[in-house]
Symmetry: C2
Subunit: 227 residues, 2 copies
Amino acid sequence: MASEDRRAREKVEVQERILNAARELFVSQGFDAVSMRKIADAIEYTPAALYVHFKDKHELMQEMCRRDFGALTRETLKLSVVKCPIARIYLCGAGYIRFGIEHKNHYRMMFMTPHPPELLPTDEDRKKMNDPDQDGYAFFRHAVREAIDQGKFRPEYTDAEAVTQTFWAGVHGVTAIEITHCSDPWLALAPLAARIELILDVLLRGMLADPAELDQMKAALRKGGML
Amino acid sequence: MASEDRRAREKVEVQERILNAARELFVSQGFDAVSMRKIADAIEYTPAALYVHFKDKHELMQEMCRRDFGALTRETLKLSVVKCPIARIYLCGAGYIRFGIEHKNHYRMMFMTPHPPELLPTDEDRKKMNDPDQDGYAFFRHAVREAIDQGKFRPEYTDAEAVTQTFWAGVHGVTAIEITHCSDPWLALAPLAARIELILDVLLRGMLADPAELDQMKAALRKGGML
DNA sequence: ATCTTTTAATGAACACCGTTAGTCTACCAC
DNA sequence: GTGGTAGACTAACGGTGTTCATTAAAAGAT
């Protein structure tokens, strides 16, 4: 059945052309600027044809973001070479913010827009979600757990999940504010770089049993050219 | 010209009925659920009539949110009775998050949606914006400045604007994550109360010259029944 | 009391949007 | 060849924000 393979290949190719057309509109103008009709026009198809390949607009956009966000995961996982969990946490946070700001609309879609609660994760998804070698969140939480186990954090901070989510909240806050308010004339934002360093320093120092360790870690990172 | 006054009163009354109808749809179902036609139906007017009173849908929604957010400002300003700037900062943050979560859609509209950059603040606005007795942000920044002047923060933290925005980023992060992801099956969020306390503790402790002061302050607040 | 100006509200339309039902057609397995 | 399948198409439905010419009524001026 070579022809069957070919048909499958063709199908995938069409889907990819759809997703690429969608991406082009999306990155430059955001979700609302992507209309099924515009996508269809771009690839010289009829709007209805898109529904052969995707359930609806939301699923289409989600699929596109999902693929593109593999890049964030891959970039994050690269940090497994960093031995010290504190340094790993710091670099994860910095990378996360940077990525979000370089992909504003993707970030908005993934982390600032509620997803329909109908799409539940499969068992396979659940497995991935908890594997630090496959999932960025799990990777980060693993670093937190290591730090806790090594007694790096204050003794009252034993809940890795809560600590992870608090750190996430901090970096998400900086990212989200930059995305939504960077050109808001009602607000005079301090330089982004300063805000990034501040939030990372403050969060980590506030969690560390020995706050001085932050500066040692940063000095070491600078020495290694990783900061 | 008594009749002129009456006409003005009537106009204001219609505007208010529009805003109230809009609010009702908005709080329960969000921005997208509010359509000009639905609002018009609710007050038994024609859709076009709304454009006599408001430039467009966005301005209408913005005006509604603006009014409702007076409540946040008023609630924040109440904290001027708290003498210690550190405690004031802490309570501001807690109140901010609480308010955001009790008014999810309003918060989303005000702080998670970019505003059209065409509407510049007037000179009067600019005056208000910098008056701690009228503006919540200025009030908060003033507390930060006090804390800095009193030597409460680490010596390298001298930029009140940056510190304010970093603290804001933290509380915004918690609020925004709760709003967008509270019913996300892909995420197991720690209890909200725990995340609130954690972020406030961590942020403040990370900034304080003497981290132990956080616990003293919290103890004092608990004694006074303010926490 | 009549005439003019102003203004809120209307009806009808425009240009979009996401989505669907029914149809056509090219290909595949038999 | 025949029947079935699946991708693409045409046409439409019901919705959206918004505009514009027109009405009707009230206000002000003479």
